[in-house]
């Protein structure tokens, strides 16, 4: 049985950032992910915002983690070579009735220690000409930003791998190996692994991991599904993040210009018992459109080029701060019921923002329990970014193609993704082995044709580079293969 100091269950942004944080120490670390790739859960479908922290309940762990993590993103994005734009965000009041809410939001923002200012309707219209003309004012939070959440997962796990962390995909946790009240390993569908610590970063399944250790029986994840729609760059251009005045359950349906240049609208919020139900619905579409058009009346469902849904890992943990009445807080704890378990559970929004602070907190929890963490001598925090043809100017493009002609062949016409980029991802530290893995890393197939043009070509490249038959190439892992057989193959 292979032996590790620490096994992380779950390769979302929390698991990946934790792996990276632990990679700086002299520890043997394994991350397991049940899907075919990292970042396929909530990390693959969210609003891509680094929140300022105005919204969480003051005194909650959410508010604390958000506040600590927000300033960390400048350094992290630089070290990991991912795009991050600290553009600020607006909570927009529409009509005079909503204007009053801004004062309460400003107070909440102040008590969370977050900088914000109320700006006039005129100023809001000046900064975002597409905003509803009925705007009555807005709360501006300048420290909010925008990041590519897939890139954050990929870059942090790659950096962890560079520094010695091992990763196993398609490896599902099935139970703990215990000696009395002490965890000594885990069972998975790929065999058993021994370890001294388990970090539970299992997202929507984090409650089941807790229960497998016979702990936290009252804790329950009830996922909330959020649907999103991505709009054609050619139809609408916007650089700002616009929130509505929030409701009791969520920050509401927002409209933002993503780091890729597309406008993103969503999410709604629907509780579900099904941890896999990531379907989009016609009711959701109607709801999102109503919300989005309240902020930006000119946007039209006609310019939709992609739609998807994500599941928020909403938990039911009470806030531990005395006097704060809040029951959906993060769980970031060393289990007191068993030895060797750290739970990172109920991590919904602002989970992406909070990820680097949560990873840092894991280190503190280990140290608090007497673990001596020794720095690796040769730890390298820099993950070199790979070239993105479409983000370069003409001179840089010419240079790149001159160096490696594979960057001269465009495979995805809408997003201008080259063969060179695809091949680089297939042979990256964490190899991209499915169509969707390449899509998340390059943004290929996300344009107007939604991959209709590139799909046969990418399947061909994957088959060639992985030395597999084309029929073995899948969209997102086993069972999602594109092709059934060759045309002239006789059916058995």
């Amino acid at each position: 049985m292979k032996n590790y100091d620490i096994i992380i269950i779950g390769g979302g942004v929390i698991g990946c950032m934790t792996a990276r944080a632990l990679s700086r120490f002299d520890l043997k670390v394994l991350l397991i992910e049940q899907e075919s790739d990292i970042g396929m859960g909530a990390s693959s479908a969210n609003s891509a915002i680094i929140h300022a922290g105005h919204d969480p309940m003051p005194g909650s762990l959410k508010a604390e983690m958000n506040r600590i993590a927000n300033p960390m993103w400048d350094q992290i994005s630089t070290e990991l070579g991912i795009s991050f734009r600290r553009c600020g965000a607006y909570i927009v009041a529409i009509g005079e009735d909503e204007f009053g809410c801004l004062t309460a939001l400003k107070e909440r923002s102040d008590s969370n220690g977050v900088t914000s200012e109320i700006i006039s309707a005129e100023e809001m219209r000046r900064r975002e000409p597409l905003v509803n003309p009925a705007v009555s004012g807005a709360l501006f939070t300048p420290t909010a930003g925008m990041v590519d959440p897939f890139a954050a997962c990929v870059a942090s796990i790659e950096n962890a791998i560079q520094n010695g962390v091992e990763v196993l995909t398609e490896t599902a946790f099935t139970g703990f190996i215990m000696e009395g009240k002490t965890i000594t390993g885990i069972h998975t569908n790929q065999g058993d692994f021994a370890c001294r610590w388990v970090v539970n970063a299992a997202g929507t399944y984090s409650d089941e991991v807790m229960h497998a250790a016979e702990t936290c029986q009252d804790f329950k994840i009830t996922p909330r599904r959020g649907e999103y729609y991505l709009l054609d760059k050619a139809e609408i251009e916007m650089n700002n993040i616009l929130f509505p005045v929030p409701s009791a359950v969520s920050k509401g349906i927002l409209v933002l210009g993503s780091t890729h240049g597309n406008v993103l609208v969503g999410p709604n919020s629907q509780s579900t018992e099904d941890k896999e139900n990531k379907s989009v619905t016609s009711e959701g579409l109607a709801e999102i459109w109503q919300g989005a058009q309240k902020l930006v009346p000119s946007i039209s469902p006609r310019s939709v080029i992609a739609m998807f849904a994500g599941l928020r890992a909403t938990g039911n943990a009470a806030c531990l701060t005395p006097g704060v009445n809040y029951n959906n807080d993060f769980v970031i704890e060393r289990s007191v019921e068993v030895n060797g378990l750290i739970n990172l559970a109920g991590i919904e929004s602002p989970g992406l923002t909070a990820a680097p602070a949560i990873a840092q907190r894991v280190i503190e929890l280990l140290q608090d329990s007497g673990e001596t963490l020794i720095d690796k001598q040769n730890w390298n925090p820099i993950r070199p970014a790979r070239p993105h043809f479409n983000h370069m100017n003409r001179e840089e493009q010419a240079d790149l193609v001159a160096k490696d002609p594979r960057y001269g062949r465009i495979v995805c016409r809408c997003e201008m993704i080259t063969e060179g980029e695809i091949i680089a991802e297939i042979h990256a530290p964490l190899p991209a082995r499915t169509y969707d893995a390449i899509k998340r890393r390059t943004w290929l197939g996300t344009g107007r044709c939604l991959g209709s043009f590139d799909m046969p070509r990418v399947v061909d490249i994957l088959a060639h580079e992985l030395n597999l038959p084309a029929t073995a190439i899948s969209k997102k892992g086993a069972g999602s293969e594109f092709l059934q057989r060759q045309t002239k193959e006789v059916e058995a």
């Binding site: 379907s279 016609s282 003409r394 010419a398 062949r409 107007r448 046969p456 069972g479 999602s480 057989r485």
Partner: protein, 425 residues
Amino acid sequence: MTIKVRYDVVVIGSGPGGLAAAIAAKKNGAQDVLIIERDIEPGGILLQCIHNGFGVEVFKQDLPGPSYAQRFINEAFQVGVEFLLDTMVLNITRDHRIAATSKRHGFFTIQAKAVVLAMGCRERTRAQVRLPGTRPSGVFTAGTAQRWVNVEGYMPGKNFVILGSGDIGMIMARRLTFEGAKVERVLEVMPYLSGLTRNYVQCLMDFDIELQLKHTVKNIIGKNRVEAIEAVAVDDRWNYIPGTEEIIPCDTLLLSVGLIPENELSRQAGVLIDPVTAGPFVDDGFQTNIPGIYSAGNVVHVYDLVDWVTEAGLIAGRSAARLVQKGPQLNSKTIPVKAGENVRYVVPHNLNPDHLAEDDIRIQMRVRQPIEAPVWVEVRIGGNLLHRKAEPYARPGEMVTIPLKPAHLDEVKAASELTVAIVKR
């Protein structure tokens, strides 16, 4: 080949429109004519259209797509058109500077005296018709499936449901049946066929494949691969009719829900796009609003027959050659052509009466509502009839054409605009 710095005419795309434009440009006196094609061989989408039905108008022969394309590829080589294959155009400026890249030639820019846009069209996707449900593997556009089956030699599934009665969808229903797949159903949200009647007869009826009009997909089911779709009947306003839901088990959903002209490069060059056709506003010589930038074929509007695409390419190529030799025609008055009663759109958007002096000008349109009875196709000036033509019926899936003749020249010259209409006889 070596890439020159300057060309008389550069054609973007080597489908039927691009090939015809390049040949016509060369034959009408342009010297250096280049086609840039992103695929590894010329022919465009015709190469995957291995069914027949091509060339009835142009050659009076019924040819498969690749054979039709090959005739023009051969002619293009004969007349000395140059080709750059496996090359993607990144950008075109309004003064005709073209930036492109390829694995073989790297990144380069060239200058053209005239440009013909012939990028064709792309298929509408699941997101554009906003189909609800999960996002498994097995939801493909009909054209992607066609490429897999006919070019790459792979079957993308066993049991198919096809949404949309577009021509590619119906043709794929037959093709997949030939290859041993089962096509469970073709669903069409409209109360009428969106492709050609002949494809309904030859591809669906002949193979006992059921077509359900006024039906759509309400839900896509399956985590990794499509497991089933939920079909539903719709009313006249496309609302689901409760109680009509039906689960159809299948592993693949093909979409044949419309084509959209591919005009990203055109937009970058400043070409104005008609929101109805999704293609450029053009005159009768297929010049766009940008002088010296022409467009031909499905990039202008989606045709029903390749023969018309070829004809449009020939006109655009001839116009481009004329510009290269004679320079821009200044001060020529153009007359707008407007879509009138029961016409969804009309091409060209305006015409130059001087051209009518030389030759017929074909006006092409799509009807708004089907008329299953004899109709008049009319060209009007104000309230007065200029010219009309009888047709046995008018269907949205089939383009309607009416030629203007040199005999109409005087009246057209005096007109402030022309209007076309399709009315019951």
